[in-house]
Symmetry: C2
Subunit: 415 residues, 2 copies
Amino acid sequence: MKVLGLIVEYNPFHNGHLYHLEESKKISGADFVVCVMSGNFIQRGEPAIVNKWARTKMALSAGADLVIELPLSCAMASAEYFASGAVRILNDIGIVDYICFGSEHGDVKTLDYIAQILVEEPESYKSFLKEELDNGLSYPAARESALKKYTAHSINIPQIISSSNNILGIEYLKALRRIKSSIIPLTIKRINNDYNTENITGSISSASSIRKYISTSNSTSFDDVLAMTMPKTSVDILFEEFSAGRGPVFKEDFYPVVTSLIRKMTPEQIRNFAYVSEGLENRIKSAADTAGTYEELVESICTRRYTKTRVQRILMGILMGVTSKDLDMLSRFDSPQYARILGFNSKGKQLLSQIKKKSSIPLVLKLSDFIKSCDPVLKRKLELEILATDLYVMCYKNPAFRKAGQEFTQNIIIM
Amino acid sequence: MKVLGLIVEYNPFHNGHLYHLEESKKISGADFVVCVMSGNFIQRGEPAIVNKWARTKMALSAGADLVIELPLSCAMASAEYFASGAVRILNDIGIVDYICFGSEHGDVKTLDYIAQILVEEPESYKSFLKEELDNGLSYPAARESALKKYTAHSINIPQIISSSNNILGIEYLKALRRIKSSIIPLTIKRINNDYNTENITGSISSASSIRKYISTSNSTSFDDVLAMTMPKTSVDILFEEFSAGRGPVFKEDFYPVVTSLIRKMTPEQIRNFAYVSEGLENRIKSAADTAGTYEELVESICTRRYTKTRVQRILMGILMGVTSKDLDMLSRFDSPQYARILGFNSKGKQLLSQIKKKSSIPLVLKLSDFIKSCDPVLKRKLELEILATDLYVMCYKNPAFRKAGQEFTQNIIIM
């Protein structure tokens, strides 16, 4: 029994994801697949286009056996926290043999070598780094330069660390090294066209191009373009959600809620929220005063230092009321602390009984039971998860599905 | 020079308003008309269908000469506060000779007699009242019974005080008496069909039937039904707003903002807001958790004691962050303290120069100047006005008009 772990968002599940899933099984020789998936809000600081239960169905119908939720506090965080949270879950459940991630580079040894340097920080690397920092370079620039020097230019560092999936991959590898995990990392070279993620370009298109297509098309039933770039089961699940009036959910739907919150606050109040560092509160305030759309709001806060995804995560933090204090409290944990099951198939059921034996963290099958018994900090974390969903569902087109408390009422997906 | 004062909402201005305006001029013999009008939020605790500047245009084009804003803290308040705020402004500007209001009863003497009893509280009335309260009657029921006894059944008290415009009229009369105003009150019997305010019934229809019609029809240009029940100038202004994408604004537009705010709060936090008395916080909380629409939210909070309009005002208070503390502070004033000009015509300009000489309260022509010079409590009141508009404009369909600060940038309407 070989178990493969995948770290995913599936927003929504498309042919590229299917390719990755099938190739990963092939190269690992694994016969079971566990996915750790972000929930109703994703790493970019946006709501997912359809909820996590629908995306769980997509994953299971495409070959995943078990889907575990990456808690919001890890899912909607920087690449480093996202990666370490997901890796910790896959490690802590005690049954995963391989992790396979997509990367632009495609060679796990090189990426892992970089991860090793960054985790172990050998003396000469550290002195290169210090030198560059003393020269006035920013931390990322100093790190890049130190890596180049340390590897004696044997690796094309700038090219590798300029690609988002390589960066994320290195973070997975760092996380595995830090916890001395026995999980074997693998990577698959990404085959999608990264030069054009804006538009659907063929059978393999980016998730963002698909979301963009959905936001501009008004398809509510069968759609040629989506059928070309997503597995049929995914398209069916997507339209099942749309026709029920549960989505598509877009960040734009949060314009009134987020902007009105900020318009009501003073810059000093904005300052209290997570990741709002000095000066940014004024940018956020004046952006909310002038912005007519969510996109405008984000764009007018962004700077070179504050990237779009970082700004989006900050705004979602404001939406959910996550203060710097909360963040301090939540980050006292170095791991997600629990594995919440979103769905499984019959093979996943076998995995669950293995996990029950081997996991070092509790398995959460029923949130209402778990929340009663857990400690206060974990409780705050779960309350955040519950609130996030209570706010997410308000964006549904169909009022009948906007009820709060769906984290308690929604059943685990069993396929 | 005779000046007539009208207290209005014009949401939107229709034939019934025109009839009232013209009849009032006729019976008073006045040659000038000053309107005190609620702003972007109205007495029922709802946003106005189009903004106050558009409604000012409607008023001026229908025969009003000067429009003064009733500040939010009075406009979105109980009949008593609404009436006393509006009457105080008309009194304090020092030039108004008559106030003429619509009433179901139509006889100002009878209404004023009731007002006199309620203001002066003669001994025998007071003892009737005490008796009924001691018998366990609610205050409104005890008052009704005491009035019946005091007037020795010479007036049909129950019939009079069961009609909303009589009630409001009595409040105007009470306010005039309390401040010993020299303004002469007049009333006109309302001619609209009160038995059916749900649907447009003819050339005189209620404002709520017109709003309902607009919410269900999708007219964005000329419309037969509206043309039948509103003056042409009003219809034109309405469609000018709609086609620019500034409205129609409905309370339903506030569903995500208000509901998400409440979903984030504990009942204890809800308790801090204005007019939320013991126990209501739990109703509000659970209503927000289950409601899929604003209408549902309101309906599930209402009780016999908490009427729909009261609940709506409470929800708007939560939206704007008005706490009980704020309310205590704001109600330290017994009058609006200033007269903010929304618009005028050439005759209104003449009035303004008279007001400048005779008014006991400052005339606000430029908010940015006034807010700098006023005292802290008044400043809080104005900030509330500014915030209300900053939140109101976010509901516009056209993102270009959603900017904050329109209280500062919008010019006075001069026609």
